[in-house]
C-alpha cells in the first residue's frame, strides 16, 4: 500500500497521524465496519443519450440509471448471473411457447399506484410500437403479433400484440412465435419493465422525471452533472437496498473519475482508464476490483470466401489458434484486463464450460505448424486481421499477428479500418478475405446468447458465414428443451461442434477492472460490468 508509506514520512505532525488512521487503518477499504443505510454513494456514469424510458436505453449511461429505477418480472443474481424472480412470482410454460406469468402482490410504483399485469402488458405494447420509436423495441420480436405493431415498413396495423393477454391483476400470458425455452432469461432485461398509468399521458415528461418500481426512486437530473436517486421505501424486491441511494456523477473521461476516486470524491468506479491499468491494483490495494465480465473477444474467419472453405481448412484454423500465445498477450499487452479464453462462451455466464476449445486454444508451436501444413497451409501464406482503429485494438492485433508469424511463418499483418462503422461495413459486406476482429457482449447471461445469435446459419450476427447442419440441429434441440438448465446443457453440446470447425478463434474474456473509495464497502460487480448497487454499504 504505497499510500501508507507516503503518509509515514509526515508522521511527526498530529494531523497526519489521524490521516494514517483513516487512510490505512483496518487494511484500506475491505475491513468491514458499521454501515449507515441512509447514506448515499456516488457512481461514475455518463450523460444518458435518451430520455429515461426503460426500452430506450441501450447505452451504459442511461441503461444503468434506468435499471435502478425500474424492476421487471425477473433479473439476474449479481453473484452468479442466474435468473431470479422479482415482480413475478413464477413464469411457467408447458411447451416453451406459451408462458404463464403470476405476479407477486404488494408491488407498487414510486407514485403509489399498484403494479399489475396490465402495467406490464401496456408497457410492452407501447415499447414495441413503431410509433414510439424505442431503441430496444426488437427485444419484443419473439412475442406473437410483434410484426403488427412493428412492421418492417409503414404504420402499425394495431396497437397491441396478440400474444399478450391479461387474465386478471396478477396473471397474464405471453405467446411466442416459436419455441424459445430461454425466453424468461430475456425477461430480465430492463426493456421488459412495467410502466405506471401516468406515463402514457406524457411519455416525454416521464423520460425526464421517471416514475418506476425499482429499488431507487428518481430525485433530480442535473444535466451533464448528475442524476440523484434515493431508496424507495416500499420496494418489494429480493434485493432491498443497504444504502440510502445512488448518485450518478457524469464524467467525460475515465482519467478524471480515477483521480476523483483516489481522492475519495467518487465512491465506485465504472472502469479504470487504460493508462491506470498497470498501476491501479497498487494504487487501490484491496479496494481494486478485478471481476469477470460476460464478454468475449474473438477473431473470425471469412468462411464465405472460397479460400477458407473445405474440410481441410478447419485444420488450418485450428493451427492458427494454437499459434496464439494468449497467456503472454493478456499479461503483457493487455495488462491483465482480459483473461485467456478456452471456450466460445464468456466466463461467469450460465452454461459456461471452460475448456470446450481444448488443446486448440493452447499455445503449441509444433502442433500449430503441423496442423497448418496438414490443412494445406494458409492461402498465399499471408493473412490479414481486419479491425477498427478507433477501439484501442491495435496493440493486441499486432501482438496476435506477431505470435502467429513467429510461430508458423505465416505473414500476418493487421488491417486497420478508420472507424467501427467502416470496419463493420467491410465485414458484413464481405469485402475482406482472411481474419477479422469480432466479439460478443452478453445481452443476457446465458450461453445460448453467445452461440445461437452468432454461429447459427443465417443468424443476425453471424459474420463469419458459418453454416453447420450439426450445430444448427443441436441448437434447435436445445431451444426446445424443457428447462433452462437443459437448454444450457444442449448448447454446450452445440459449442463442442465449434471446436471441430473453428469458425472463429476465441481469444480472451473481458474483465471488469474497477475500484471503490474508502467510504464504501461490500462492492461486487456482476457479469454486465455493473456493481450490485443495492448491496453497496456506506460506512457510517
Amino acid at each position: 500500500m504505497p499510500a501508507c508509506t507516503r503518509v509515514r514520512w509526515a508522521v511527526v505532525s498530529a494531523t497526519s497521524v489521524a490521516l494514517m488512521a483513516t487512510g490505512c487503518g483496518g487494511g484500506g477499504g475491505s475491513g468491514s465496519g458499521p454501515s449507515d443505510a441512509s447514506k448515499t454513494f456516488t457512481y461514475q456514469s455518463s450523460e444518458p443519450q435518451n430520455p429515461l424510458q426503460p426500452a430506450n436505453a441501450n447505452e451504459t449511461g442511461g441503461g444503468r440509471i434506468v435499471q435502478n429505477l425500474f424492476k421487471g418480472l425477473a433479473d439476474y443474481d449479481p453473484s452468479n448471473g442466474k435468473l431470479r424472480m422479482q415482480a413475478a412470482d413464477k413464469i411457467d410454460s408447458s411447451d416453451a411457447q406459451t408462458y404463464n406469468v403470476t405476479l407477486k402482490s404488494g408491488w407498487t410504483f414510486h407514485d403509489g399506484t399498484a403494479v399489475t399485469a396490465k402495467s406490464f402488458v401496456d408497457a410492452w405494447n407501447w415499447a414495441a410500437n413503431t410509433k414510439n420509436n424505442q431503441i430496444n423495441s426488437s427485444w419484443f420480436a419473439d412475442i406473437q403479433g410483434y410484426s403488427d405493431v412493428h412492421p418492417s415498413s409503414g404504420n402499425p396495423t394495431t396497437d397491441t400484440m396478440s400474444g399478450l393477454t391479461v387474465q386478471d391483476d396478477t396473471h397474464f400470458t405471453i405467446k411466442l412465435n416459436n419455441k424459445v425455452s430461454y425466453f424468461p432469461y430475456k425477461l430480465g432485461y430492463v426493456a421488459f419493465s412495467p410502466l405506471p398509468e401516468g406515463f402514457y399521458k406524457d411519455p416525454a415528461g416521464y423520460g425526464q422525471k421517471p416514475v418506476g418500481n425499482g429499488p431507487y426512486q428518481f430525485v433530480s437530473w442535473d444535466h451533464n452533472s448528475q442524476v440523484v436517486t434515493k431508496t424507495f421505501a416500499n420496494y418489494q424486491g429480493v434485493d432491498k437496498p443497504k444504502n440510502g441511494g445512488v448518485v450518478f456523477k457524469m464524467y467525460t473521461t475515465a482519467e478524471a473519475a480515477y483521480a476523483d476516486l483516489q481522492s475519495n470524491n467518487l465512491d465506485v468506479m465504472d472502469q479504470v482508464p487504460p493508462s491506470a491499468l498497470a498501476n491501479y491494483k497498487n494504487d487501490l490495494g484491496d479496494r481494486a476490483i478485478d471481476a469477470p465480465q460476460g464478454a468475449i473477444q474473438n477473431v473470425g474467419f471469412t468462411l464465405y470466401q472460397p479460400d477458407w472453405q473445405g474440410a481441410d481448412k478447419a485444420k488450418v484454423r485450428q493451427g492458427l489458434s494454437m499459434a496464439i500465445d494468449r497467456n503472454t498477450i493478456t499479461k503483457t499487452v493487455l495488462q491483465g484486463s482480459r483473461a485467456p479464453a478456452s471456450a466460445w462462451v464468456a466466463e461467469g455466464v450460465e452454461g459456461y464450460k471452460a475448456g470446450t476449445c481444448g488443446d486448440f486454444c493452447t499455445y503449441n508451436v509444433d502442433k500449430a505448424k503441423q496442423l497448418i501444413q496438414e490443412g494445406g497451409g494458409v492461402p498465399g501464406n499471408s493473412l490479414k486481421i481486419t479491425y477498427n482503429a478507433d477501439g484501442g485494438h491495435k496493440e493486441w492485433v499486432d501482438a496476435v499477428c506477431n505470435s502467429i508469424r513467429q510461430a508458423t511463418g505465416v505473414n500476418c499483418a493487421g488491417d486497420p479500418k478508420t472507424d467501427f462503422k467502416t470496419a463493420r461495413a467491410a465485414i458484413t459486406g464481405h469485402q475482406i478475405n482472411g481474419m477479422f476482429r469480432t466479439g460478443w457482449v452478453q445481452d443476457y447471461p446465458l450461453n445460448a446468447n453467445f452461440l445461437a445469435d452468432v454461429y447459427r446459419t443465417g443468424a443476425a450476427s453471424n459474420d463469419t458465414g458459418y453454416s453447420s447442419p450439426e450445430f444448427d440441429k443441436l441448437a434447435s434441440e436445445a431451444d426446445q428443451a424443457a428447462s433452462i438448465q437443459d437448454t444450457a446443457t444442449g448448447y454446450q453440446k452445440a459449442e463442442e461442434q465449434l471446436a471441430n470447425d473453428m469458425p472463429a478463434i476465441p481469444l480472451w474474456y473481458y474483465r471488469t477492472n474497477s475500484g471503490y473509495s474508502t467510504k464504501v464497502q461490500n462492492v461486487a460487480f456482476d457479469s454486465f460490468g455493473n456493481p450490485a448497487w443495492t448491496q453497496v454499504e456506506v460506512k457510517s
Binding site: T328, V333, D398, C401, T418
Partner: protein, 310 residues
C-alpha cells in the same frame, strides 16, 4: 549568373598559394560547394544524412535483429541497456517485445524514401509547371496560378488525410503520391517567380537573338539560372515531408504494418509512456534529428547559393 559573370577569385588559399595554378572559371554551383564544405553546419548535417541514407539502404549492416520479431514473453517493455552498443537491447524493447534499436534503424528507410521521392516529385512537377507559367505568361500563367492557388487553400495534412483514406492498403508509394499531389504548388510558385526574373535578363534576349528555340532557352539558359531558389526550398521542405509522413503514420492514416515507420512507433509508445518512456524517446528523437538535419542542410545550401547573404 554564372554564364556572364565569371568570378575570378584570386587563389589565396593556404594550399593554392604554394603552387599557383591557372584559375579555372567557377560556376555558381562549384562556388557554393567551395563555400559549403567549410561550414560546420553543413558538415554535421551532411554526415547525419549520409548515415541516415546508409540506414535506409543497408539496415542489416547496423543490426542483425529482425525489427518485426517480438518476444512478449521475455522482452515486454524491457528497459534499455545503454552499454550494449549496437545490440538488440541497446535502447530496450517496445510494447510488442521488439528491439527499439532495430526498429529505429529500419524506420529510416520509409522516412528517407518518402522525403526524397516527395521532394523529387514536387520539384519536377512543380518546377515544370512553374517554368511554363513564368516563361509563357498570359493565359497559361493565369490557369496555372489559379490552380496553384486552389491547391494552396487545402492544408497539406488535411488533404493528405482525405487522399490516403481512399487507399485500402497504404504503402510508401501511396503516401508519396498524396504528398506530391498536394505539395507541388509550393515549388510552382518559387519557380515561376524565379523564371520571370531570369527571363528578363540580357543573356536570354541574346540567346533569342541568336535564334535559339524555346526549348533551348528554357532548359539551357533559364533553368540553370532559376533553379537555385527551388533547390533551397526543396531541401528545407524535405525535412517537412518526413515530419508529415510521421504525423500521418502517427494518426494511423499513413504507413501501415509491415512497413516500419517512426510515426507508427511513436503512436504505440505514447500509450505506455508512464511505464516505458524510452519506447517513445528513441523513435521521436530519431525523427527530430532527421528533420533537423535536412532543415540545417537547407539553410546551409541557401546561404551558399544566395550571394546576397555572403
Amino acid at each position: 549568373m554564372p554564364d556572364l559573370i565569371e568570378k575570378n577569385v584570386p587563389a589565396q588559399g593556404a594550399a593554392g598559394s604554394a603552387e599557383p595554378k591557372p584559375e579555372k572559371p567557377r560556376s555558381l554551383g562549384l562556388d557554393a560547394w567551395h563555400d559549403l564544405r567549410k561550414r560546420p553546419v553543413f558538415i554535421i548535417s551532411a554526415a547525419l544524412i549520409v548515415l541516415l541514407v546508409a540506414f535506409a539502404i543497408a539496415p542489416s549492416l547496423f543490426t542483425s535483429v529482425d525489427p518485426r520479431a517480438g518476444d512478449l514473453q521475455h522482452h515486454y517493455l524491457t528497459k534499455p541497456n545503454y552499454l550494449h552498443f549496437f545490440q538488440a537491447d541497446w535502447f530496450g524493447y517496445d510494447g510488442q517485445g521488439r528491439s527499439i534499436y532495430a526498429r529505429m534503424i529500419y524506420g529510416a528507410r520509409a522516412s528517407v524514401v518518402v522525403g526524397i521521392c516527395v521532394t523529387a516529385g514536387v520539384t519536377v512537377l512543380g518546377g515544370l509547371a512553374g517554368m511554363a507559367a513564368g516563361y509563357y505568361g498570359g493565359w497559361v500563367d493565369t490557369v496555372i496560378s489559379r490552380v496553384t492557388d486552389m491547391f494552396f487553400g487545402i492544408p497539406l495534412l488535411l488533404g493528405a488525410l482525405v487522399v490516403l483514406n481512399a487507399f485500402t492498403t497504404r504503402t510508401v508509394w501511396s503516401v508519396v503520391f498524396a504528398l506530391v499531389a498536394l505539395g507541388w504548388t509550393q515549388m510552382t510558385r518559387v519557380m515561376r517567380g524565379s523564371v520571370i526574373t531570369v527571363k528578363q535578363s540580357d543573356f536570354v534576349t541574346a540567346a533569342r537573338a541568336l535564334g535559339a528555340g524555346t526549348g533551348r532557352i528554357m532548359f539551357k539558359h533559364i533553368l540553370p539560372n532559376a533553379i537555385a531558389p527551388v533547390i533551397v526550398v526543396a531541401t528545407i521542405a524535405l525535412g517537412g515531408y518526413i515530419a508529415t509522413e510521421a504525423t500521418l503514420s502517427f494518426l494511423g492514416i499513413g504507413l501501415q504494418d509491415p512497413t516500419i515507420s517512426w510515426g507508427i512507433d511513436i503512436n504505440s509508445a505514447q500509450k505506455v509512456i508512464r511505464t516505458a518512456p524510452f519506447a517513445l524517446f528513441f523513435p521521436a528523437g530519431m525523427l527530430s534529428v532527421t528533420v533537423l538535419a535536412f532543415i540545417m542542410l537547407g539553410d546551409a545550401v541557401r546561404d551558399a547559393l544566395d550571394p546576397k547573404l555572403r
